[in-house]
Symmetry: C2
Subunit: 405 residues, 2 copies
């Protein structure tokens, strides 16, 4: 029975992710970086104790789908409505600029192929709401004007990012950049996003109703995980990555999400969403770190030719691009110069969303080892640096900003 | 990517288990029977929609380990102390009698080999506390004298059963019945059960302590699952089945479990155990049904020669043996005749614990298709019939028993 060694691998993954994640927090670095490092240490790069087997890959995928479910569940659409205009400018600016900059540099400067260049651009578009939120909370600025704009923009970025991911995924699967396929997947997505909330809300209502009659404990975890996995399968069936299904399920069940028609009928009962969160959190918290460890495991640092200079050159240019292009969107809005800088800095972290792009690029064979390593290093830098930059900025210029309410 | 089809299988497993489990409860049948039937329907016996792949087997194994963790966590050792003498007689009588009867009939009547006969005996020893508890609760007799004896006896039966399972597992792995190996594993088990609580309590104390400092949510699910899986691996490493590790972890963390020395130091804080239960329940509830569906999946009814008569003969005799031998232990104690009958009836259900034995027998190649089917049918009959028998008995003779307090 190979079960035993698999369980030991799982113990190593869970414990090292926790240990290095906590260390990262202690060093004021986002915990995902620690979890990724755990994978690098356990994997072929260093110790070689844990192999990225089929089983562990599937659990990591499950963790990723659950992560996107949580992102969707936490997304506050009403926030977006409140700060809509400015947030849209920040989000679109911070989405289109890195995408175009990343694409052009990869395609023309590094002579990468069309699909590869598109994936590089896509990877640079991500914004990690988690990292930003943590730093703003540490600085007690989570209710400030600039925080509200950043959070709304990050929600929009998440949605745009997942759609872009679906389109790029289709390109990499079919092997060609085809606008007909892209439109097809876009239409699928629109239908999917229009129907998903209805299905999810109906299912939530059914679960909430049958909970009174159920004589077996655990109705919520079973039904919600089934819903998430069903959406993931459906998403894959229409040609999009599975994580999109998790995101759609989360968004649809979210407390603040409502449909334009029949809002009263379809809005999920607040208390029920709280119960869903309560029961789902332990499952999400258990599996999500496995994905980040997996990113580290699949990164074989020994296979990369570090002396070539190309990796370093790419990494350096991508880091500069990633930072500058995210600032650009923020500089377009009508706020004080200090607000614009604060917003721009808060938009930089890529973290988990960037890793999702990079991992999908690697899995579909678009990224080779060198490019994957450069992408990971870029994501790491744009995730580790901003917290320090933001703290420095607020210490020095914080008095010029409106205090948080 | 095969992830997508795997996720769909998982959805089918989870939803059908829930649906048929609820139907079973509605028909006053224990839910595990419905979950097993879901596996029979989805699997090669009928629809063939879900194959018992390596992945699903591993998740089922994880579910089984979690189930035994829960059994251990719920085990009330103090109950055992209170009703010690009578419970011991019931438990030992209801453990040794079916084992010897099952063994002799298999070995001498059906001419099965030594190891096979031992496994048949082992399968018949199980007592499912879950089924019994549910029925007693439905009858509002869960606090009665006979209920206390039955619950204490079932705890003891669980412990004896798991030890027997470990010894038989070693026999099937080494292919021979060897008393030196059996003593070796017995010594291992004693050391394991002596050290496990200390390790588990220390770990629980550490987790409880570090929870205050942790900045990443989900410390409890991560650490407790790691502990369970580590014990499962350890258990496998000393030659016992993995589920023993789950049981030991649960027993060690249990609220009512204390060590003979340094009780104050090692007793887990009650509130902390409540928090562990709260966080672990959703995970346990999600994965446990997968095991029972797996039992149904691995039962290919089409491969069994139903016309041979041998299956029916074995099933019939085993059912009679299973019922009579469990009654025997109860008849030995000094209680009123009605109490003895009530206790005897409540000891009959095998359910999950019997299925664990049967599944391990099948996995290690000890049971062929026919014998496995006969065992499953026996377990099903001894699980489905007692609730009806108990209800009939209490309706007719309940007035002769002391009312529940």
């Amino acid at each position: 029975m190979e079960g035993s060694s698999f369980f030991l691998s799982l113990v190593l993954i869970l414990l090292s992710a926790r240990l290095l994640g906590e260390c990262a927090v202690w060093l004021k670095i986002p915990p995902v970086m620690g979890e990724m490092l755990a994978g690098v240490i356990l994997g072929p790069s260093l110790l070689g104790w844990v192999q990225p087997t089929e089983m562990i890959k599937l659990l990591a995928e499950f963790g990723l789908i659950l992560l996107l479910f949580e992102v969707g569940l936490d997304a506050d659409i009403s926030q977006l409505a409140r700060k809509g205009k400015q947030a849209s400018i920040v989000a679109l600016g911070g989405f289109i600029t890195p995408f175009i900059a990343g694409f052009f540099v990869s395609y023309y400067l590094f002579n990468l192929s069309l699909i590869v260049a598109l994936f590089v651009g896509g990877t640079l578009t991500a914004t990690s709401i988690g990292v930003t939120l943590r730093v703003l909370r540490d600085l007690r600025r989570q209710h400030s004007n600039e925080a509200q704009i950043v959070l709304a923009a990050a929600v929009l970025d998440d949605i745009l990012g997942v759609i872009l991911l679906a389109v790029l995924f289709e390109f990499s699967a079919s092997g060609e950049v085809n606008l007909i396929n892209a439109s097809k997947i876009f239409i699928f997505l629109v239908i999917f996003f229009a129907l998903a909330p209805i299905v999810a809300k109906l299912m939530a209502a059914t679960v909430g109703h049958f909970e009174k009659f159920s004589h077996i404990a655990g109705l919520i975890p079973t039904m919600i995980v089934s819903l998430i996995l069903f959406f993931a399968w459906l998403s894959h069936a229409v040609g999009a990555p599975e994580l999109l299904g998790g995101f759609a399920a989360g968004l649809a069940l979210s407390r603040r999400f409502f449909l334009p028609f029949g809002a009263h009928l379809t809005q999920t009962d607040g208390r029920f969403v709280v119960r869903i969160e309560e029961k789902m959190k332990p499952i999400i918290q258990l599996f999500t770190p496995i994905f980040f460890v997996m990113v580290g495991l699949s990164l074989n640092l020994q296979e990369i030719d570090w002396s070539s200079g190309m990796v370093w050159k790419m990494t350096f240019i991508f880091i500069l691009l990633a930072i500058a292009s995210k600032m650009f969107g923020a500089l377009l809005i009508r706020e004080s110069i200090h607000s614009r800088w604060a917003i721009g800095l808060a938009m930089i972290p890529r973290a988990e969303v960037g890793l999702v792009f990079a991992e999908l690029g690697r899995l579909s064979g678009v990224f080779d080892n060198e490019l994957y390593a450069a992408m990971i290093l870029t994501i790491a830098a744009t995730t580790i640096l901003p917290p320090f930059m933001m703290k420095y900025f607020y210490t020095r210029y914080g008095r010029h900003l409106h205090p948080g309410n």
